[in-house]
């Protein structure tokens, strides 16, 4: 039998023994629980959520395999030397590493399958192939570290210390000690988080960053393998070569995120060509509304359009040059798009179109864009008494079929400092047939859309009586009269006094 065949048999022997370790099943049970708990936070998960969960679970798989591999690693470093056999000590260690890698990959594949199964099929979003490989590389770091640490400690101290520290850590974060205790724990936590992912900007969608991250994890993996081989009881050139390799790999592991953070810092914006699948992504125009989803999120356009097409359908043709460009920004990175000024409506990957809250937010943003009111991201302004303020409110709510009125809509209205008359007309518009409002808008679009047109004129055109005060900002009492469902808090809701008038 050849040495390769013997190494294969030893790998199989080790793999069977690793798979028989009860700690493995404890870890997998914990991982499965984590999958369901984490995905439970995402009522409408997409591919990026599943990927993030897979990466989190990979860390648990790595920790599990670290513990499981420590036992045979100690067997090799402490007890295997008594056996003189064709398969030498380095070959035995490599076989153990191969077996641990095999078991780890199977476990991680199983957990990835559980993630996808728990999230359901046909998820929107795309993840680069590098990112798909990263959780596997992350998980593999665990057993490599297990062999390396066991090789140098030659004891179970690396398993015993965490078992002792875990209850202390639990007590620390769950008792009053947290307010008076040392900052060391939070620093260690921060360092551990940065060690797992030291990149300032990271997204599984960005091909180049995913490649850097995968490269970083592979380099760390290589460091542990080299350190494990250097721990073997041998002297001379081979140990020197192992240490040299470890040093080079470590330098690479430090340099990779350093370079990536310099090149792709917080302020970096990424064009679609940098995204996986972005080359084929095009903005889509439906009934004069433009949609620019991230790669893989094209199915969401249907729901976005279902949300916006009805209210915007009440607007005249001349309003179409102000129709919004709905674009999706990335999680963890800024997307570079050439948007027409004042027409961008941003949605995030966390904002599922199936969520009523985000549908309401989308309608609000679109209505404000059409009537030229600033978005949240451009700063607030005063639109007190302007006709377009109640019209914005009307457009954001007309045709909405989400049941009860969204109380958050009051926040959007309050943010522009409405007068009592604005509130009265906005409320009256709810009772006015949409077709009647559309008719008035068609006849007086430019006029009603102008900042100088008062709400009283809109009321006059619609034949609505206005009894409330048209000048000045509505008081808390007036809010309670017209919007009892919304708790108006002037100090939080209104723009700053120095804010400009909406132009």
């Amino acid at each position: 039998m050849s040495r390769a065949a013997a190494a294969t048999r030893l790998t199989a022997f080790n793999a069977v023994r690793l798979a028989a370790n009860p700690l493995l099943y404890l870890g997998l049970g914990l991982s499965t629980t984590l999958v369901y708990v984490t995905l439970g936070y995402y009522p409408w998960p997409h591919a990026l959520d599943v990927h993030n969960t897979t990466e989190t679970v990979a860390v648990v798989v790595a920790a599990t395999m670290f513990a499981v591999t420590t036992f045979p690693a100690l067997r090799e470093v402490r007890y295997s030397g008594v056996f003189v056999a064709p398969l030498g000590r380095t070959g035995r260690l490599l076989s153990l590493l191969a077996a641990a890698a095999l078991v780890t990959v199977v476990c991680q594949a199983a957990m990835t399958a559980v993630c996808h199964w728990a999230a359901g099929g046909g998820l929107p979003g795309m993840v680069s192939p590098y990112a798909r490989a990263t959780p596997f590389a992350l998980a593999l770091v665990g057993p490599a570290a297990g062999v390396a640490v066991a090789g140098w400690t030659r004891s179970y101290v690396q398993l015993i210390v965490p078992v002792i520290l875990a209850p202390a850590y639990y007590l620390y974060v769950n008792t009053a000690l947290v307010s008076v205790g040392p900052q060391m724990v939070s620093r260690v936590e921060s360092m551990a988080t940065r060690a797992v992912n030291p990149f300032q900007v990271m997204s599984p969608q960005i091909t180049v960053l995913s490649a850097y991250y995968l490269g970083y994890v592979l380099l760390v993996l290589g460091v542990f393998v080299a350190v494990a081989l250097a721990a073997r009881p041998r002297r001379g050139a081979a140990r020197g070569a192992a240490f040299g390799a470890a040093a080079v790999l470590l330098a690479g592991a430090v340099a990779t995120p350093a370079y990536a953070n310099t090149t792709y810092g917080w302020d970096r914006r990424f064009p679609d060509s940098a995204l996986y699948g972005g080359d084929s992504t095009r903005c889509e125009v439906r009934e004069a509304i433009t949609y620019c989803p991230l790669p893989g999120f094209e199915p969401w356009v249907d729901t976005w359009h279902a949300t916006l097409s009805e209210p915007l359908g009440f607007l005249p043709e001349q309003a179409q040059d102000r129709f919004p460009v709905v674009w999706q920004d990335g999680p963890g990175f800024s997307r570079m798009l050439n948007l027409p000024p004042g027409r961008g409506v941003v949605v995030f990957t966390g904002a599922s179109p199936d969520d009523p809250f985000f549908r309401s937010d989308l309608r609000n943003q679109a209505a404000r864009t059409v009537f030229g009111l600033h978005s949240d991201f451009e700063g607030w302004c005063w639109a007190t008494g302007q006709a377009r303020l109640p019209l914005t409110y009307w457009l954001a709510t007309v045709g909405a079929d989400d049941g009860e009125p969204d109380p958050f809509i009051g926040y959007h209205l309050a943010s522009f400092g409405p007068s009592a008359a604005d509130l009265e007309v906005a409320r009256a518009l709810e009772e006015t047939p949409a077709e009647r409002v559309a008719e008035v808008l068609a006849g007086h679009w430019e006029e009603l859309n102008a900042p100088g047109t008062p709400t009283t004129e809109l009321a006059s055109l619609l034949g609505l009586p206005v009894t409330a005060e048209a000048a000045g900002v509505a008081t808390e009492a007036e809010w309670r009269e017209h919007y009892p469902e919304y708790v108006f808090e002037p100090e939080y809701d209104l723009p700053e006094e120095s804010a400009p008038t909406c132009g």
Partner: protein, 295 residues
């Protein structure tokens, strides 16, 4: 090149040093089939020699060929290891293995192919050392003697051409030692067995050749009979405690057994001495204790 007629062990001037200390000093040996006993006091170099023969240590100087191959060359060393069984002194085994698991692990290391064949061989090996019934016991639950036999089972795997046993009978009870002797005798019909031990009875019972080491040098190489012959006329029994400077011990009947270097039957009358037939142990003690002092 491999010479099929070459002795299993061929050593010329084999020297092994640890820093400034020389553990083996220009050892010359040719060993063939049969059992060769390796005797010597603690620190004489027996274990170092066995480790060199087991390819676990490389000789610092000299020429060593094992089973017709050069252990310094990696491919040949691998080939030697395929044909070698080695029981080290006081072996420590991974305590979480079962007896079967441990021997199976070593069988995998020894490149034994096919799971079924391998397991058959593991069972056979455990049976030969009388541990088959304890095959499911964890190593940590086995007694010292059982662990020793377990090590022997590992060494016997695959009927090695060269079997090296370093203190194999430590911890064995008399019954197990008899069984061990029978096993080694059987192995010696087709293999070269090197047995390092302090148990002179084992050597007397098993070996047709004895090599004595002292301070890393071979001080005797011959048959047990030759060694005993050298002690003739130097072993006495007397009633009075002998003078200082001779090797002696008190017997159960109150008399003293005396080993006298350089003295022969001419002084037999002194102190009521009665000359007796020397044993192998007498000869060994004279060689390592007395002759060394005389050198």
């Amino acid at each position: 090149m491999t010479d099929p007629n070459a002795p299993a062990v061929h050593a010329r001037g084999v020297t092994r040093s640890y820093g400034t200390r020389t553990a083996l000093d220009a050892v010359d040996l040719d060993l063939g089939p049969g059992v060769t006993g390796l005797l010597g006091r603690n620190g004489a170099g027996k274990t170092t020699l066995l480790r060199c023969l087991a390819t676990d240590l490389e000789a610092s100087r000299g020429e060593l060929r094992l089973l017709g191959r050069d252990p310094r060359r990696a491919p040949e060393r691998t080939e030697i290891r395929r044909r070698l069984g080695y029981l080290p002194q006081n072996p420590e085994f991974y305590p979480h293995f079962t007896a079967f698991g441990l021997v199976d692990y070593v069988a995998v290391l020894k490149e034994m192919g096919g799971r079924r064949e391998r397991h058959d061989e593991v069972r056979r090996s455990l049976d030969r050392v009388g541990l088959y019934d304890r095959r499911h016991s964890r190593v940590r639950r086995l007694s010292g003697g059982m662990r020793q036999r377990l090590g022997l089972a590992c060494a016997l795997l695959g009927d090695p051409e060269l079997l090296l046993l370093d203190e194999p009978t430590i911890g064995l009870d008399p019954e197990q030692r008899i069984r061990f002797r029978s096993l080694v005798s059987e192995m010696a019909t087709r293999s070269t067995v090197v047995l390092s031990t302090h148990q002179i009875e084992d050597v007397a019972a098993l070996c047709r050749r004895v090599v004595c080491l002292d301070r890393g040098r071979v001080v005797f190489d011959g048959t047990p009979g030759d060694l005993v012959e050298r002690a003739k006329g130097r072993v006495w029994v007397q009633r009075e405690r002998p003078r200082e400077g001779v090797t002696t011990w008190r017997l159960a009947d109150g008399r003293y057994r005396v080993l006298t270097p350089g003295e022969t039957g001419s002084s037999a009358a002194e102190g009521g001495r009665v000359g007796v037939e020397p044993t192998l142990e007498d000869a060994y003690l004279l060689l390592t204790g007395v002759e060394r002092n005389a050198r």
